[in-house]
């Protein structure tokens, strides 16, 4: 009887530690700036999170590419800048930095501009991508506007600071 209670207590403590650990992890890893945290940017929907096995529901056709590189989960959320420019942030949590590097390199094209952001960053007219540790992040605007490049950079820095 005593043994059973002791055993249950051990299990309960272990479970609590696991839950708390995961909870802390999640809090630390929420990379999405809240509305107004970055000037002009509003977060317009709830963050959606896809485990690797469910990634096809978000990016079917691209999911295998991420899975092969060791994606653990992908989080995404939509934003607007000053009420008109729409953008999306994708944060891919990889199993390690190598996977993040592989994903970033795959997206590299000749017109990419290298930027100082995270461990390595790339900028295009309508998007910013970077990796930091095991994270690889892509911030994409749906339109090309005169202020898109600068606004996206500010948002990307906001994400980078939270990783």
């Amino acid at each position: 009887m005593h043994y059973s209670i002791w055993k249950r207590s051990i299990v309960a403590v272990a479970m609590a530690a696991l839950v708390l650990g995961l909870g802390c992890n999640k809090t630390q890893q929420d990379p999405f700036p809240v509305s107004g945290a970055i000037t002009g940017w509003q977060k317009t929907d709830a963050t959606r999170v896809f485990a690797a096995k469910d990634l096809w529901q978000y990016i079917d056709g691209d999911a295998e590419h991420f899975i092969q590189a060791g994606v653990v989960s992908t989080s995404t959320s939509d934003y607007t800048y000053n009420g008109n420019l729409e953008a999306v942030i994708d944060v891919h949590t990889m199993s390690g930095p190598d996977g993040a590097r592989k994903i970033l390199e795959t997206g590299l094209t000749r017109d990419a501009k290298t930027i100082q952001l995270g461990d390595e960053g790339l900028q295009y007219a309508q998007s910013v991508s970077f990796r930091k540790g095991r994270y690889v992040v892509r911030v994409v605007a749906y339109e090309a506007t005169p202020d898109a490049r600068q606004a996206l950079m500010a948002l990307a820095h906001g994400v980078e600071a939270r990783l």
Partner: protein, 337 residues
């Protein structure tokens, strides 16, 4: 009430086992109407409006309607209203639900344009279709949202919902390597489907357009990706309900991504400013593949073959065991306007 197969049997139509249901019920295409089956070519119309986008990234709505009318008139040889009445009649869809299968997987940046969806819906209504008998659908609500659509199940308006709402058939369907469950939107709710894909490069299939758009119809599309989606794309489309109900493709090539697809990569976005219309989805895809390759060559990119993802499923779809259409350019009557 006769089902479709019984109806066709009653009309004396002969199942040739080839091409789409139009081979059974006749063709919308003006050119093939007076040709015999052995010499008939599959007609594909590419209609372009180089001023479609103006200065913005969204096409001008009125110009999209005009482009659609131009494409349909060219394809059918009829005035727009009559053309759409013919679409309804050929789909055996009088007073029945007509589905518009869109594609929003690539997010707002590269999804079937709202302007095209609404133009088709408007023209169907002008031809006598009740708003509630038009059902815009895709795999999930987010994809529909990417196409600028809001979920609506009110039968008094144009309806719009996904397979998440309708559910999938309990029983698996299979053909070749394809073993999937099909959305009830296709199997039960719609009498006929107008296919509204958007032209994109695809990281595995090479090209995604008319045939590949059917991946959004099944419960586990990720099971169909092996070997560059070949023969899975062809096998899926060979399942009888796809053959019978996917009637007409009005392909959205107003904007496209020539690399990095199927997701949205603005640095690889371009504006072909075109609609590609046809009943033979293999011929439509063969034509679209050519457009994509020309763009890749123009920007100095390797061919899809060299990139390791040639869309071989197109030839497979045309082979003797699938007979979904033709990929032979000599048998495609390509009309560009």
């Amino acid at each position: 009430m006769k089902n479709r197969r019984e109806f066709l049997k009653g009309t004396g139509a002969v199942l040739l086992g080839s091409q789409s249901a139009f081979a059974l019920a006749g063709s919308l295409s003006s050119a093939s109407a007076d040709q015999d089956a052995s010499s008939a070519k599959s007609k594909v119309v590419i209609a372009r409006d180089l001023a479609l986008h103006g200065q913005g990234s969204e096409p001008n709505e009125q110009r999209v309607i005009n482009l659609l009318d131009h494409a349909m008139t060219t394809y059918t040889g009829r005035d727009p209203k009559d053309a759409w009445k013919h679409v309804i009649a050929m789909g055996l869809a009088q007073d029945k639900v007509i589905g518009l299968k869109v594609n929003g997987l690539g997010s707002k940046g590269i999804a079937t344009h709202t302007a095209l969806i609404m133009a088709v819906a408007e023209r169907l209504q002008l031809a006598g279709v009740k708003a509630g008998n038009i059902l815009v659908w895709d795999q999930n609500a987010h994809f529909l949202e990417a196409c600028g659509m809001t979920v609506n199940t009110d039968p008094g308006k144009i309806r719009c919902y996904s397979s998440e709402v309708a559910g999938f058939e309990e029983q698996e369907s299979s053909w070749g390597v394809a073993r999937i469950r099909i959305t009830k939107i296709l199997t039960r709710e719609c009498a006929t489907i107008i296919n509204l894909p958007i032209l994109k490069d695809h990281s595995m299939a090479g090209v995604t357009f008319a045939l590949k758009n059917m991946y959004g119809v099944v419960d586990r599309p990720f099971t169909l990706h092996a070997d560059n989606c070949n023969p899975a794309v062809a096998d899926l489309n060979a399942i009888p309900v796809f053959r019978e109900k996917i009637r007409l493709t009005i392909g959205d090539a107003m904007s496209s991504v020539y690399d990095g697809g199927p997701g949205f990569h603005p640095e690889r976005l371009w504006y072909p400013n075109a609609l590609i219309v046809g009943e033979d989805r293999v011929a439509v895809d063969q034509t679209a593949w050519g457009i994509l390759e020309r763009k890749r060559a123009e920007v100095g990119m390797p061919t899809l073959e060299a990139a390791g993802r040639p869309p071989r499923y197109i030839a497979t779809a045309a082979d003797a065991s699938h007979r979904l259409g033709t990929n032979d350019p000599k048998r495609i009557n390509l009309v560009e306007v």
